[in-house]
Amino acid sequence: MNIENYEVPVSIVEAVQSLQHGDATILAGGTDLTPQTTSGAKEFLRTLINIQHIEEMRGISVDDGRYRIGGLTTVTDILESALLAAEVPVLVDAADHFASSQIRNAASLAGNICNASPAGDMIIPLLLLDAEVELAGWIDGTLSMRSIALIDFFTGPGKTAMQGNELLTSIVFAAPVEGFRAEFLKSGPRPALEISMVSMGVAAVQKEGVLSNVRVAIGAVAPTPIRARATEAVLEGQLLDESLVDEAAAAAGREVSPIDDVRASAWYRSHLTGVYIRRLLNVVGN
């Protein structure tokens, strides 16, 4: 469709008023939107809303043990955040594995989430942190906010639980508990500019060899990024030894449902899943 209106809201309230009829395309950094509209994979709706000037949607803060990252915060902002490097390094690590410097400078965190790719890199560490997303809408003449667990946000490749009249304003999560260790791995044939064949995060608290608070998140092996709950259950409260690692690798293999595509075969993705969970448990369990 031809774009009939172009709007540049400067606040969340203004943005959701523009969005209320649901026939608008949201523009953030444009690093997904441009290739998708150029190739015809996605069509523009009647109104184009450039959200880049909503300053209240930028920045990283912590208040009373809750972290909040504004949706427009870029991957570069995350990579360069001293606060996150000190307190939640897994997010910085994932940002460091993200595309190139030029893409990181443009790519927003909300864009990465809303694009809902099963291979979205920032999603995996956020799943380890049990993050929630905050969605704003304009209902009956007022601003209406709701939040939803990130894991419930994804309903399929490119599909989310967000309505057409909603805006993802921020990402929130509780400060990790004492001793929480989270690690991220991503694979691709070259280090840069790579869409993951498999990405995985494992987090846990390890005390005298016993794991608790275990979380396993895997990308690019199912229609959405997943939390591997059965694998987590195998590990939770157990002494981490060789047989437990074998059991966890087997459980993870059963939880993924990878496909063959241009980047990797389903067989290779399953194989990598096993390799990665072993590697990550080795780090997190140490």
Partner: protein, 163 residues
């Protein structure tokens, strides 16, 4: 008539005002409307960096940025780097080290190198060759003259911050 949006921004230090379609890319605007053909269209998908320009001090792939989003911003392109006094130090280093072959990737490569030199990710430490290669990973050179590119940038590192 299809929609056209008026935008105003600073381009290489000069205030610029023009009308663009809401779907036009910044690269297309620079090349087709403003005749600044230094930045190149190669992949058009963010993979190669040939279209790299500085926006508010950060490099981006101009093939992915919407031209309407330039409104109110500060753009710098390769055309704005040299002055009447001569080439900018990075440009000169590329010439001196024979880092340029066909030249297609160079405007983007030089803009990214300039950005990297100004944004040393590890500020206390001098950039190594590995840091330079890593910082330029979004820039592909089809003539694959990467060694001399790194030589050129490493020389600027020494020149700008001699130990």
């Amino acid at each position: 008539m299809s929609l056209e949006i008026e935008i105003k921004f600073s381009l290489n230090g000069r205030q610029t005002r023009l009308k663009v379609s809401p779907t036009m890319t910044t690269l297309a605007m620079l090349r087709e409307k403003l005749d600044l053909t230094g930045g190149k269209l190669a992949c058009g998908e963010g993979e190669c960096g040939a279209c790299t320009v500085l926006v508010d001090g950060h490099t981006i792939n101009s093939c992915l940025m919407f031209a309407v989003d330039c409104d109110g911003r500060e753009l710098q392109t390769i055309e704005g780097l040299a002055t009447d006094a001569g080439l900018e130090i990075v440009q000169q280093a590329f010439v001196d080290h024979g880092a340029i072959q066909c030249g297609y990737c160079m405007p983007g490569m030089i803009m990214q190198a300039r950005y990297l030199l100004d944004h040393n990710p590890d500020k206390g430490r001098k950039m190594t060759r590995d840091d330079i290669a890593r910082g330029l990973e979004g820039n592909v050179c089809r003539c694959s003259g990467y060694t001399k590119v790194v030589d050129a940038v490493a020389a600027v590192v020494l020149e700008e911050s001699p130990s």
